[in-house]
């Protein structure tokens, strides 16, 4: 078993490292895929494991995006001038400045959203069930609307992130840089989530999901763990947002950063498609969803949102357990569940 795992993981890592060379035309798509997996996996941590279905993780994603770009510009040039008049034409980052900027920016974009989640967590996570869902939906949209009114980050006209340094002549370099940084974040997120899956922390989160009152009665300080769970999500959402901002090269408040209509729904949908509350579910869900989206959307241009809406309805109504949930029901032995044959038979007879 152990050896099988080792082969699986090393195979996946080699595949991940070789992917930009094997499919060099699809580097942007691969980067998207990594980011989607990170988003789905961390959404699952608190949506699937903790039972707090959030529509508002897009808040941290957008925050990370704006923070990375702002830090990257603000470290070397006046931010207000940059956003006011397309500063990318006046000010040019040198290679060293660019990478220093994005490095510090990503660091900030991971830490600050996590701190924000910690700060608002006590107030927001006291809400339960659908109130939490609606409240976070409101938060995400409010953030987009408010960011669209703040002058220093470009307000409604958007924020152009620093272009990739022109001194690097290799045309592949930009794609590779963003792919490898997103892959690095993916590996980091996977290791972290895997660690959580093997720890007591996950059991506590599951206890909160199954019955919060009882968990509290058992002496678990639920609020503390809920906040930590949300902070982990926020940490990786911020990182993912920072990378996406650099990749897209242009930040709009409601269509790119706080894009509740796309990314915000995608992460929920991907996690549900793959199966909430499983380690591999969100990863498989995100991969499937990405293939579906990229394969189908070019053929039904204009109708993609209709397809997305219908897909949401169909998945939610007919497939709420997701792929892993379905497999689990079909092959319970594979998931380490032991079924008493006698008991199962008597259950069937009862029906």
């Amino acid at each position: 078993m152990k050896q099988k795992d080792l082969i699986l993981y090393s195979g996946l890592i080699i595949l991940g490292l070789a992917a930009p060379y094997l499919f060099s035309a699809f580097k942007v798509q691969l980067t998207y895929l990594c980011v989607l997996i990170v988003l789905a996996m961390t959404w699952n941590l608190q949506g699937g494991e903790m039972g707090y279905n959030s529509f508002g993780n897009i808040l941290f994603y957008g925050l990370g995006m704006y923070l990375t770009a702002s830090v990257q510009v603000g470290m070397f040039f006046p931010l207000a001038e940059w956003t006011e008049s397309g500063g990318e034409k006046t000010f040019v980052h040198t290679t060293a400045q660019y990478f220093q900027g994005i490095g510090v920016g990503l660091l900030v974009s991971a830490i600050v959203p996590a701190l924000v989640a910690g700060a608002i967590g006590y107030a927001i996570l006291g809400l339960r069930g659908h109130y939490f869902a609606i409240c976070t939906l409101g938060l995400g949209i409010a953030a987009g609307e408010i960011a669209g009114g703040i002058e220093i980050i470009g307000a409604g006209q958007g924020f152009t992130t620093p272009p990739f340094p022109a001194e690097i002549v290799d045309p592949e370099a930009r794609g590779k840089f963003f792919y490898f940084s997103s892959f690095f974040v993916l590996v980091l997120a996977f290791i972290f989530v895997k660690y959580i899956y093997g720890s007591r922390f996950r059991l506590i989160l599951n206890a909160i999901r199954d019955n919060e009152d009882k968990a509290e009665a058992m002496g678990i300080q639920t609020m503390k763990y809920k906040i930590v769970g949300w902070m982990v999500s926020a940490f990786f959402c911020g990182l993912a947002g920072g990378i996406m901002g650099g990749l897209i090269g242009y930040i709009d408040s409601t269509d790119v950063a706080f894009d509740g209509r796309e990314m915000g729904v995608f992460m929920v949908l991907m996690a549900i498609l793959g199966g909430k509350g499983t380690l591999w579910g969100p990863i498989i869900g995100a991969t499937l969803f990405h293939f579906f989206k990229e394969g189908l959307w070019t053929f039904i241009l204009g109708w993609q949102y209709v397809a997305l809406g219908v897909l949401i309805v169909v998945i939610v109504i007919y497939f709420p357990e997701g792929l892993m949930g379905w497999l689990r029901e079909k092959y319970p032995e594979r998931f380490g569940e032991v079924i008493d044959e006698k008991d199962r038979k008597s259950q069937v007879e009862l029906k």
């Binding site: 339960r128 409010a142 609307e145 809406g309 309805v313």
Partner: protein
Amino acid sequence: MDFLIFQVPMLMVQASMDGILLGILFALIAYGMALQWGVMNIINIAQGDLVILGGYIAYTMYLAGIHPAWGVIVSPIIMYFVGWALYKLVINKVVDRDLFISILATFGIAIVFQQLMNFIFGADVVVAQSGYGTTMLFDNSVTLPNSKIFSAFISLVYAIALVVYMKKSRLGRAIRATAQNARAAKILGVDTEKVYAATFGINAALCGIAGALISITLTLHPYVGLPYTVRSFMIVIVAGLGNLPAVAISGMGLGLFEEFADYILGTEFRIGAVFMLLVFILVYRRFKLSKKREYLK
């Protein structure tokens, strides 16, 4: 404080009048939401999009040369069947399930509606001209479009008609019985499936009326549905389910808040302020209840 609204007192009167008239309209949408939330235990994210669809029906009439005010009669009739069809297609499968499922499913419906409206009616901001003119008050310092007064009046008429209908009619009694205890109602011979479909239809019809009124008082755009959903959700959680006077009052309060936020924060933060108010109300309720060791249910 150098806000314009505090320097010119007449602007306050203007904002208050606008807010109250607008708030009555919001209350109508919220009443629909409270109805289906109370009866079917479903939170309908597509509520705002039903409103906008109703508005586009009135707008289509306006384009065809019919006065858009007739929309307040035509649009609810069409929307009733839209709501009924929506119930039969999707909603009946999420009635007994987790609320999150209904939120997500109606979110999907909202996306489909938005995009279809975008295809059919275009992405422009449109308004149906009612040609009702304006009323000037206080030496012409406060202007009140007659269409707003008309819309508030029609909303009140429909709200009262609905309350009477719910009290007196057979269907109204069945709906109230189902809301109290669906199982008991079923045992006593109420066809709950029919009641649910009718409830969702009535909700959609209310949205249709509100949409037709919005088409002549405010503006229509395929993607502005969600703020109406959030407004009605907010009104319902403040007022509680099935308390009509409270719904009306908190609707007016929300209207006032919005108009003042518009003047004080600036128009670009208006929608942001609505969503932030939602967050603040929920957090306020949460802290208030947590003192009693309870939480919002």
